[in-house]
């Protein structure tokens, strides 16, 4: 029998009614002939409540104790899902990360999975159980202590399990209907994508259109595990299938438009045109643990350079201080900071080998009198920094020019 892994996020198991709905979805898959493994997050805001409890005790919790605490969130939801499935007359057993044997690095709060033991899992599946596995948690392969996987950890658990078990597919159930061409809250015409490639999904995740955690998409991509993003509230809707490019019909050069308002821009002007200056700047920032996203270096008429880059707004104060120090050191003239920026990006595996996509994007912005401050491109992505007030307008204009409202909404067979 083929194996199907289903993952349900916190909003999908927020209360008893939700948990019963999840049980129904799992039982349906079983009845369709799958061996089913269900990965569950903590119920609703349980994890936040646990974190708040910890904060009431101390600002600097011991990492081991913290992991033991927050891992209870999933340990609450898994037996409840198992009970709900049993109430529907199917066999079910729940497993914590420790019980099932999800081995991780010996690191708390952000461990990576190193191995998944499948003996017990396969035995339970063979016995006819729907197996419920706690997401987000594992045990250190060195100490046997409970570890957690960091943000988006349950997606990662699900994908790693799917790979370890050789599943047919991994379905990620969430509270949205799938992956859209852009944010439906901003653009009414946004349409749901039937399919998207791993690469595009990775770019969209990093661009702030996060439905999936990048780590889970990376695993899926590396092992070519098909995954589906779908809603637990509309289980009849097949959502969006994420798979390898080679399997997709690339009718459209662009799959989606993303808006990222989390970045700020720093520009260092009057930088002497000497080799190694850029390296100095970005090495210093990296040492201070400040991640830089876009980087532009341009030459001014007076022979000096301008180095501009974007960082997360939450790092802006640190980045400013570091930049000012560097500017002094290298005899640059000026540091300016702009937090009122937005990054608009198009993503599409279909743009590979099709010239003119970037140009069409720039023209759409120009036609709408939107000034472009920075540009960066990759094989399947073009990003432009614009003034933050123009962000929504830019997304709408681009969405229209690539006719993303006409993306087919036809059902695709599973």
């Amino acid at each position: 029998m083929p194996i199907l892994v289903q993952k349900f996020g916190g909003s999908s198991v927020a209360d008893a009614a939700c948990i019963k709905r999840v049980a129904g979805i799992a039982v349906n898959a079983k009845k369709k002939g799958y061996q089913v493994v269900v990965v569950v997050s903590a119920m609703g805001d349980t994890t936040d409540k646990l974190i708040n409890l910890s904060k009431e005790i101390t600002n600097k919790p011991n990492a081991r104790e913290y992991d033991l605490l927050v891992s209870t969130g999933e340990q609450i939801s898994i037996p409840l899902v198992a009970m709900a499935i049993q109430s529907l007359g199917e066999k079910s057993i729940s497993q914590t990360g420790l019980q099932v044997g999800i081995m991780t690095e010996d690191r708390h709060g952000k461990a990576r999975i190193t191995e998944i033991k499948t003996d017990k899992l396969k035995k339970y599946l063979k016995e006819g159980n729907i197996v419920i596995v706690a997401g987000f948690q594992g045990i250190s392969e060195v100490t046997g202590e409970i570890t957690t996987l960091g943000r988006g950890g349950s997606d990662t658990t699900a994908m790693a399990l799917a790979v370890a078990l050789g599943a047919e597919r991994c379905d990620i159930y969430t509270d949205v209907d799938g992956v859209f061409t852009t944010n439906p809250d901003t653009v009414n015409e946004a349409s749901k994508l039937k399919t998207i490639s791993y690469e595009e999904m990775l770019e969209l995740a990093s661009l702030g259109a996060a439905v999936l955690h990048p780590r889970s998409v990376e695993i899926a991509k590396n092992y070519e595990m098909p995954m589906r993003v779908r809603s637990s509230f509309k289980p009849e809707d097949e959502g969006t299938l994420v798979q390898g490019v080679e399997k997709m019909e690339l009718n459209n050069p662009v799959s989606g438009v993303a808006l990222d308002e989390s970045q700020a821009r720093i520009a260092i002007a009057g930088v002497p045109d000497k080799p190694g200056i850029a390296a100095t700047v970005f090495e210093t920032l990296a040492k201070k643990n400040i991640s830089v996203d876009m980087i532009i270096q341009s030459t001014s008429k007076d022979g000096t350079n301008e180095i501009a880059f974007t960082v997360d707004k939450e790092n802006i104060e640190d980045a400013k201080v570091v930049s000012a120090e560097i500017a002094k050191e290298i005899n640059a003239t000026d540091v300016t900071v702009d937090v009122n920026i937005a990054k608009v990006s198009i993503v599409g595996a279909g743009m590979i080998g099709r010239p003119g996509i970037a140009a069409a994007m720039f023209k759409a912005l120009a036609d709408n009198k939107i000034n472009i401050q920075m540009i960066s491109t990759s094989e399947i992505k073009v990003s432009c920094v614009v003034e933050s007030k123009d962000g929504d307008k830019a997304v709408k204009a681009i969405h229209k020019v690539f006719e993303l409202d006409k993306v087919s909404k036809e059902k695709q067979k599973v």
Copy 2:
């Protein structure tokens, strides 16, 4: 260094402030030269909330899943206590039942501890840690699955740990100041006992004056482990020391008066006077899992017998049905049920070998015009069933006649 086990109930760790108080108590003991093991229950009403969640899913939860669910309560409180202790600058590590190795029977919901692994515990203590152990939970020695110990389980965990580690004493911290001569809410003159024997404590627990779970007292008695019942809100108060009779000065024949309003009385009248009838009655009740407390058989003038017994009010409907069936079968004439009863009991190791104690109790009731319906006695206990409206009056009268308000309140040295 001597080992001290401290157990804190749910009300003692109900919130962050309580947990910090608990941390202070543990650190104080460490500073006094003890190696300290702390056993903790779930915070406040956490366990009830978990049970309610389970009820929202199903009325018949699978026992294994149920144990996995409810065991999270303690897994939340233990890391929080460890963090709070660490914040005070002491080393601390928390341990679930599984992690520390509290082995139990292979039985869910009500498992008995079979063995406690002490290697890890001793290692952590030697390294200078205050070790925080989750109460109420263990793992099946057969399957390795998480089990729970049933009601009062955390007291049992603490006592079993104290015995396994050869502790000097086990302190049970709760929200009352110690063990009283009777319920202070009913009788203003109730005084706190400095000491009480295991045997008396056992009788008081079963008589509804429960501060300690009988199983923990049984363990303490069997291994002669001194225990102290004290308040986490008044840590300077030494509470009540529970210990063997031989160590006590038995100044008073009676230690306490207990009132139990949880029983109902069933009487089967007109029972033919034939051998084996009583056996039939109580075997049938036992088969239906109905526990019987007091039993009285008396002979009437017409040569038939009356069999009267008490059962828990929550079993009264079942007991009524069973009794009616039995009555029919044995040709008894009548079954009457009375839920308006109260059981008043005196307990005292000091009554052994002192005649007249029971008589003094009956006289106190008679002087107050309280009618006695049933009597049962053991070596250290006399119980009378009275009308429920007379319960409080009976307790007050008996408390006075044995001068329990004059029990010394002097501090006793630890």
